[in-house]
């Protein structure tokens, strides 16, 4: 048995089995037929057939986001691979661990403009952490092992393995490597002890401290450490869109999300703090606006990140610490607990008094008497009905911001959205990935009528797998975020942002075998949600909420402005 040879296709399946993969999302085609033949014969993992490759990659991505495991997708060569690119780029921008296996034309046909040939390694190079073209079946298992290792370690990211069809036919002895050693890839895991000590000292000396957490806290499983740190010090905390859930949002120490659509208190505290601790966050343009206008007052920045290239990229920092955030914050906690110094309570009290003044402006208020369905209200009700315990995926646009603002996540990996790339069409396939990982969990996909139509075909996949996702469509008849920018910055010239000829979403849901509900009045919002999560608990329910078409997302910082230049409601 020890010397039994397996074909490349068998090896692919064996590697996935030995890697402990339970779910693979994909779509077959000519170049991967051998692999699919082996998938048919095996029982180690389930394959979920999607209706478009982009959805396979988004589903695998969301599977990774909610479980912390590496997501896996398989696509065929040519159009299969190009359809996957948006999904791969989405995962890359948000640092999601994922392995994509793509078929390729046979080795001898590469470069011949063969049928369904595309230079997949070339096309995906700028949007993967790494990629491989396997040219010898004897390298296949070790390459797949490396792919999983690279995807999951350091700053995570998608890794693509391109497998030519003849490689899936060739055979060799199979052995799955137990470990990986690469001289060119050794991510730093432990933070520099001296730097951590310096940072702890600086934090304890702060008069106006601020803790700013990002997606790295969620990805690095550092939520418990960060939560402990914030509570131990009693310092204010904020989070980026990607970091939501990293610190419990209902907690009074949490100032809400920061950035372009962040709260006044979070953005102002960022601008006026004297010591800023950034954890797994990268000071991107949607978060701090124009770096020239960022925190002009004298302040010192401590930045913890596993990726050295994220440090001092947009903003110079004073104490850089490269390492896994959980390890670094753990060490920092030890230092702070051991230190004789304590935070300056008088200064801290004055700082909190200032913050409470900002908070008292109640920037998240909205008109509750309009008689129209306000999208914010729908999210608030969704929070109530699900007890704040749902997995919430979203698409991209106004609804995404309202979801982030009005659904206070109290644990990590519950908020699944495309933050970096901003991919419309992400929400529904992402919900599929989450529901496959957690079949009994409440999963809501908050979406808009623009986004949902970008991957609406997946209602068919949901039907096949009986996924009881709740699609919360905030339908304002506009590409709302585009419309909002046009209202503010283009003198209300609404170029191509009005969606006419929308389908009858209720009938559409029914056509796919699901439950469709239309809600036109505010008083019907809650009952519809209760039905969705109660009476129709086991069904996919598609609720079309006809919301106020003129509602905008506030506060808003125009692009290129500083954090203090907010437009308020």
């Amino acid at each position: 048995m020890a010397d039994m040879e397996l074909t490349g296709a068998e090896i692919v399946c064996s590697c996935l089995r030995d890697e402990g993969v339970k779910h693979v999302f994909g779509y077959p085609g000519g170049a991967v037929l051998n692999i699919y033949d082996e998938i048919y014969k095996q029982t180690a993992f389930e394959h979920i057939l999607v209706r478009h490759e982009q959805a396979a990659v988004h589903a695998a991505d969301a599977y990774a986001r909610c479980t912390g495991q590496v997501g896996v997708a398989i696509v065929t060569s040519g159009p299969g691979a190009t359809n996957a690119v948006t999904g791969i780029a989405t995962a890359y921008m948000d640092s999601i661990p994922m392995v994509v296996i793509s078929g390729q034309v046979p080795t001898a046909a590469i470069g011949q403009d063969a049928f369904q040939e595309v230079d997949t390694v070339g096309i995906t190079r700028p949007c993967v952490k790494h990629n491989f073209l396997v040219k010898d079946v004897r390298d296949l298992a070790s390459t797949i092992k490396k792919a999983f290792y690279i995807a999951a370690t350091g700053r995570p990211g998608p890794v693509l393995v391109d497998v030519p069809k003849d490689i899936t036919q060739h055979s060799c002895v199979y052995e799955y490597p137990k470990s990986v050693s690469m001289r060119s890839y050794n991510p730093t895991s432990k933070g520099h002890a001296g730097q951590i000590k310096k940072a702890a000292q600086m934090l304890l000396e702060a008069k106006r401290p601020m803790i700013y957490t990002g997606g790295g806290v969620v990805l690095g499983n550092a939520a418990p450490q960060v939560t402990e740190l914030v509570r131990l010090l009693g310092y204010p905390a904020t989070s980026t869109l990607m970091g939501l859930g990293g610190y419990p949002a209902p907690d009074p120490l949490f100032l809400g999300m920061l950035g372009m659509h962040g709260t006044i208190e979070a953005n102002m505290a960022m601008q006026h703090c004297d010591v800023l601790l950034a954890v797994g966050a990268r000071f991107d343009d949607r978060v701090i606006g124009n770096p020239k206008h960022f925190a002009k007052e004298a302040r010192r920045i401590i930045h913890i990140d596993v990726d050295p290239s994220s440090i001092s990229k947009r903003v110079r920092v004073d104490v850089p610490i490269v390492g896994e955030v959980a390890q670094v914050v753990d060490e920092m906690l030890k230092q702070i607990k051991a230190s004789k110094e304590k935070p300056d309570q008088t200064a801290l009290k004055a700082w909190w008094t200032q913050i409470e003044l900002w908070r008292a402006q109640d920037c998240m208020k909205y008109d509750r008497e309009s008689g129209k369905i306000k999208p914010q209200y729908v999210i608030e009700k969704l929070y109530e009905v699900t007890g704040g315990q749902a997995y919430v995926t979203s698409d991209v646009g106004q609804h995404q911001m309202w979801a982030a603002q009005y659904y206070p996540f109290d644990q990590p990996r519950r908020w699944i959205n495309s933050g970096g790339l901003g991919t419309m069409g992400f929400g529904l396939p992402a919900a599929m990935g989450v529901q496959m990982a957690f079949p009994d969990a409440a999963v809501a996909c908050i979406t808009g009528e623009g986004s949902i139509q970008m991957n609406i075909q997946e209602l068919s996949t949901c039907k096949e797998w009986k996924l009881p996702i709740k699609v919360i469509l905030l339908n304002n008849g506009y590409l709302g975020m585009v419309r909002q920018w046009q209202e503010f910055f283009y003198e209300e010239r609404y170029a191509e942002s009005y969606m006419t000829s929308l389908p009858d979403f209720v009938k559409l849901a029914e056509a796919y075998g699901h439950v469709g509900i239309q809600v036109e009045k505010p008083e019907d919002v809650e009952p519809a949600l209760r039905d969705a999560f109660g009476k129709y608990k086991d069904r996919l329910v598609f609720i079309n909420f006809l919301t106020d078409p003129r509602e905008n997302v506030f506060p808003m910082i125009p692009a290129g402005k500083g954090l203090s230049e907010m437009i308020l409601v």
Binding site: H130, I150, S184, Y185, P308, S309, S312, K313
Partner: protein, 163 residues
């Protein structure tokens, strides 16, 4: 400021395009780039000449280090180093020019490596500034063709980049 960056990377297909792609994707400029395998056939050594502010150069070295195939990165400009470039120049060498070109090649310690009735091909090695000086010293109309390799660099003395 001008920087000369050296890197060792896995000698895999596509490794060069990862580096070139990184520079174009992030808007960094490349003045020259040379690459060839080392005495260890599994490793390639690359020399990149680039320009940028300190912040940009810091990002360039970090981003290069982030590439999975890159084993080591060193900014040679951080310390004393030597850089050399090879140039082949085909020049007009008929009539009066024939003697003149021979003399110029000698002055610049170049070698004439190919001769025809009307042309010389001169091989010249040195820092880029020396090659520039040679091209400026001769009559521009006499230059028929030039090929330059771009700079290769190495640290001085005990400064060694190896794995």
């Amino acid at each position: 400021m001008r920087h000369i960056i050296s890197l060792l990377m896995e000698n895999e297909s596509g490794a060069l395009s990862r580096v070139a792609g990184l520079f174009s994707a992030r808007g960094y400029n490349i003045e020259s780039l040379t690459v060839a395998p080392t005495e260890d056939a599994t490793l390639s050594r690359m020399t990149i000449v680039t320009r940028g502010s300190d912040d940009v150069i810091e990002q360039i070295t970090k981003q290069l280090n982030k590439l999975v195939d890159v084993v080591k990165v060193q900014d040679l400009s951080d310390g004393s180093h030597i850089e050399r470039e090879l140039m082949l120049v085909k020049v007009r060498a008929s009539g009066d020019l024939r003697e003149e070109m021979k003399r110029m090649a000698d002055i610049f310690r170049g070698r004439i490596i190919d001769v025809s009735d009307k042309t010389y091909t001169v091989e010249l090695t040195g820092p880029g500034s020396k090659l520039d000086a040679f091209l400026q010293a001769i009559d521009p109309a006499a230059i028929l063709e030039t090929v330059r390799t771009g700079a290769s660099g190495i640290g001085r003395g005990d400064r060694i980049m190896k794995i």
